[in-house]
């Protein structure tokens, strides 16, 4: 399953959906929103936007790349957009494989590829303005 969603990601159902008798491992990566502080100001939440449907297609391509490289039987990637509060899941990757090595490696590969090629952007909304992560463009003074 590859999806871009608004609202909370149901991690438990993604994991249970990946359980199969021919797999000995399910590796789950959960990316959560981290809050930084500088100079008395702090991040209040993060806001994600995506270029769709290109972003959806890129998630599917990452899944196809994983299946070419490793023996995996299930791959799910769900990325959340819109407002995400501190500590909540912004991305969840679940990989089921017969052997744990492939599951670990494939889930690591998925998050690294997401950060390279999927057209999704986040901005940190601070108490005194916002800044686009990676572009350092925003309204903070």
């Amino acid at each position: 399953m590859f999806a871009i969603v608004e609202g909370r990601i149901d991690v438990a159902s993604l994991i249970s959906g990946a359980q199969r008798p021919d797999c000995g491992a399910i590796s789950t990566f959960v990316g959560t929103t981290r809050v930084d502080e500088t100079g008395g100001a702090s991040v209040e939440h993060l806001e994600y936007e995506a270029y769709r449907p290109m972003a959806d297609r890129k998630l599917e391509e990452i899944g196809a790349e994983i299946r070419m490289r490793w023996d995996v039987r299930e791959v799910s990637i769900v990325h959340r957009i819109g407002r995400v509060d501190p500590g909540e899941a912004s991305v969840v990757i679940v990989v089921a494989a017969p052997r744990r090595g492939a599951a670990f490696e494939a889930s690591r590969y998925a998050i690294e590829r997401i950060k390279q090629v999927v057209p999704i952007w986040k901005r940190e909304v601070w108490s005194d303005g916002y800044v686009w992560v990676g572009s350092q463009v925003g309204t903070r003074s």
């Binding site: 990316g31 994600y48 936007e49 995506a50 270029y51 449907p53 290109m54 972003a55 297609r57 990325h79 912004s90 991305v91 998050i111 997401i114 950060k115 390279q116 090629v117 999927v118 057209p119 999704i120 952007w121 986040k122 901005r123 686009w132 992560v133 990676g134 572009s135 463009v137 925003g138």
Partner: protein, 81 residues
């Protein structure tokens, strides 16, 4: 006649002051499109070297030709995850 549709995302939308615009032109390369875009959105200028660009939903090189009816997307460095 339709122009070339240009979508802008993230910091590029901020710099341009819009998320979508049209460039009136015939068949031109993305390199040739860029200065036409800057005519109405000069704030984009300093971002040029950081940007990726897509045509009809797929990453493209700057020497790719585009035509009226195509969808060009201006993509700042992605920051998903």
């Amino acid at each position: 006649m339709d122009g070339i549709k240009v979508l802008l995302f993230g910091a590029a939308a901020d710099r341009a002051g819009t998320r979508e615009t049209q460039v009136e032109a015939g068949r031109i390369t993305l390199d040739e499109l860029w200065p036409l875009l800057l005519e109405h959105h000069p704030g984009l200028s300093p971002m040029r070297d950081t940007l990726a660009i897509a045509v009809n939903g797929e990453y493209a090189r700057w020497d790719t030709p585009v035509s009226p009816g195509d969808e060009v997307a201006v993509l700042p460095p992605v920051s998903g995850g």
